[in-house]
């Protein structure tokens, strides 16, 4: 099992308000509905009792349908790694953070220049994920611009599986690609039954804001649910643009949207492992563009976590990004503030928390290293303070007595490694030593560490014959 911490100490609105948001959501589902463009999905809703206007493509769902779906959706979802030490249990306020983005650009580690992402970056970031101890999972974070559209899905997942044994989740681009990825996963697992028993791969299908389910994403949703692999149905309402500017309104609309995806999944297969989801943020009101590092994004995500905890369904959320173009101070403070708030809210599966810059359009290898430290601090905060007889240590205090010191005491040596967070990126040297090491700033130190990981880390990879089989079956793999 991967390291587990219990979050949930930070509530962004009083617990009593959860019901208000829930009731407002039910009202919207019953009276306003969602535009479901996919006719096959509309039929599924209609057959099971939703009010469907095929002409307008509007689906309104009754309270009872929502309640049944929430009850049926599992409260505990297992997302496996290809190695058991990387298994994740999504439940309650178990908190994990991982990658995300599906960006088109990366800062080049050597030159610092922004360049298009390629297959080698899918592999590189998967490898970074595998090596960095606080990254719990790999949501495939870039789009390889050096392969044809029909080969994108199979390349993204193949190079992810090849370079990390942590859980891999991703969006998909074509139906054929989805089917290839599922088939490839079966071959790696040694058959469908093995794959479903220990799902090391899962998927993301988005709901559009405000209140729209689009054709292709819905087709993907139905295919994945029918097959049986875990799925999240996140929405990305932008406060002030595709959602009310007031954050409670954004949480409400996200609640409606994500639950519609979850309801459809449960109607197709009752008990399907479905994650509630949000990637919500704001529109910047100066430029009229999406922002990734805004503090409001963290608040909305934390608010959605409270809703998901009320429904007792695990949540896929977002945090830890920055809008800076480089891994500088802005990158540090935006990522730290947002990661901390969302981690403390107890969101189970917080993606986008490593490596992201520039409105979630650009990755940086150095930033992954820096974020590993930021997330380490956030997880330490999530752990809180353990209070018991041993940690209060009254007897030790008495023993050391007035004017004594604790440095050499057995108790200190016995607890320090578990009690303190040991940063590796932060420079804690005295000034003269820092100068002697070259007076390096954070990004420069992180660059060295990233280079070392890419050169030296050896992920699990594939056995020779499996690799040969996969390359033969999927010639589109670069």
């Amino acid at each position: 099992m991967f390291q587990q911490y219990q979050g949930g100490s930070n509530k962004v609105f009083p617990e009593g308000k959860v019901k208000e948001i829930h009731e407002a959501s039910v009202h919207l589902m019953e009276k306003v509905g969602v535009k479901v463009h996919n006719p096959r999905a509309r039929q599924i809703f209609a057959d099971q009792g939703a009010q469907v206007d095929h002409g307008e493509a509007i689906v309104k769902i009754p309270r009872s349908m929502l309640e049944d779906a929430v009850a049926a959706a599992p409260s505990r979802v297992l997302l496996c790694g290809r190695e058991e030490k990387n298994d994740l249990v999504l439940e309650g306020t178990n908190t994990y953070l991982g990658t995300g983005g599906t960006v088109l650009y990366t800062l080049d580690l050597d030159t610092g220049e922004r360049r298009p992402t390629e297959v080698r970056d899918v592999a590189g970031y998967a490898k970074m994920t595998d090596a960095l101890e606080n990254v719990a999972f790999f949501v495939i974070n870039c789009y390889p611009q050096d392969v044809a559209t029909e080969d994108v899905d199979v390349n993204r997942f193949y190079h992810s599986f090849a370079n990390t044994s942590k859980h891999v989740m991703g969006g998909i681009y074509t139906m054929e690609g989805l089917k290839d990825v599922i088939r490839m996963s079966e071959e790696i697992a040694g058959g469908k039954a093995n794959l479903l028993a220990r799902p090391f791969v899962s998927f993301i299908t988005l709901i559009m804001s405000p209140l729209v389910m689009e054709v292709t994403y819905t087709d993907f949703l139905m295919e994945i649910v029918r097959y049986g692999l875990p799925l999240t149905t996140p929405a990305e309402p932008l406060a002030g643009a595709t959602a009310p500017v007031t954050l409670a309104g954004t949480v409400t609309i996200n609640n409606v949207e994500s639950l519609y995806g979850l309801v459809l999944a449960q109607l197709i297969r009752k008990g399907h492992p479905t994650l509630y989801g949000t990637t919500s943020s704001i529109m910047d009101m100066v430029t009229g563009t999406y922002m990734a590092g805004a503090i409001e994004s963290a608040l909305i995500n934390a608010g959605c976590a409270q809703m998901a905890q009320y429904y007792e369904i695990p949540i896929y959320a977002t945090g830890g990004m920055s809008d800076s173009k480089i891994p500088d101070c802005q990158a540090g403070y935006e990522s730290a503030a947002t990661a901390m708030i969302v981690a403390l809210s107890g969101a189970n599966y917080i993606h986008d928390a490593f490596g992201l810059l520039e409105f979630c359009t650009t990755l940086s290898y150095e930033k992954m290293v820096i974020d590993n430290e930021i997330v380490g601090m956030a997880l330490r905060a999530v752990q809180g303070i353990e209070v018991n007889e041993e940690t209060i240590a009254a007897d030790i205090i008495a023993e050391v007595g007035p004017g004594g010191n604790f440095l050499a005491h057995r108790h200190t040596a016995g607890h320090v490694r578990k009690e303190f967070f040991f940063p590796r990126v932060a420079d804690r040297q005295m000034r003269q030593d820092w100068e002697a090491s070259g007076s390096k700033d954070t990004a420069a130190r992180a660059k060295v560490m990233a280079g070392e990981i890419l050169r030296e880390h050896r992920p699990l990879g594939f056995a020779e014959d499996l690799e040969a089989l996969l390359r033969k079956n999927y010639p589109g793999i670069k």
Binding site: T149, T174, M208, G240, V286, G288
Partner: protein, 205 residues
């Protein structure tokens, strides 16, 4: 009276703009003067304030709405006088339903005096060609959010280049870039709403 209309537009006060425009018309002010010296001039200042960060997007849009209300009173009286700075056909390309960015650009273009024909979302190459042939715009704007629909954008830009070579194309959306615009032969690229308006003004010349 023109000054009053101007300040009411800036404040986004619809009723104030309507009554101001009505008073100006009653006083005999030429419709085109009301449009150019009060309504559009006010929106020019709004645009400048938006660029400097003094006014935020929602405030800009409320001002634009007030301007549009005033314009609605004056337009029927124009008698063949063209008021539009230019004409733009805009849409989100085939396969893509995302439109918040396109809608923002549309609103900002209209508030700068452009006439905009909005094709909505999931607009096919044929729909763009038909609108281009029918409305004869100077500019066609294309928007896409999904990486997968960039191919539709390329197809439409190429078709427009062949069938309507005089029309300038401009593109926008999260996955596109100046480089992509150059690759597919588009006339220009803008990263956000305000620069889209600047680009449109430039392409019109």
């Amino acid at each position: 009276m023109l000054q009053e209309i101007y300040s009411k537009v800036l404040a986004g006060e619809i009723d104030g703009v309507r009554s101001g425009v009505q008073k100006a018309l009653d006083e005999g002010t030429k419709p085109s003067k009301i449009i150019n010296d009060a309504l559009i001039k006010a929106m020019d200042e709004v645009g400048a304030k938006m660029k400097s960060g003094e006014m935020y997007v929602p405030e800009v849009l409320i001002a634009a709405e007030a301007m549009k209300e005033g314009l609605g009173l004056v337009k029927p009286l124009l008698e063949g006088e063209a008021y539009a700075v230019g004409k733009v056909v805009i849409g989100t390309v085939a396969g893509d339903l995302h439109d918040i960015g396109k809608n923002l650009v549309t609103m900002l273009l209209e508030s700068s005096g452009f006439e905009v024909i909005d094709l909505g979302v999931d607009a096919s190459t044929e729909a763009f060609l038909e609108a281009a042939g029918k409305h004869k715009p100077q500019i066609v704007g294309l928007s896409a959010l999904l990486t997968t629909t960039m191919a539709s954008m390329e197809a439409t830009v190429k078709a427009l280049g062949e069938k309507e070579p005089k029309i300038k194309t401009m593109i926008g959306g999260a996955p596109v870039s100046q480089q992509f615009a150059d690759e597919i032969g588009a006339g220009g690229y803008a990263p956000d709403g305000a620069s889209a308006v600047d680009l449109a003004k430039k392409l019109i010349q």
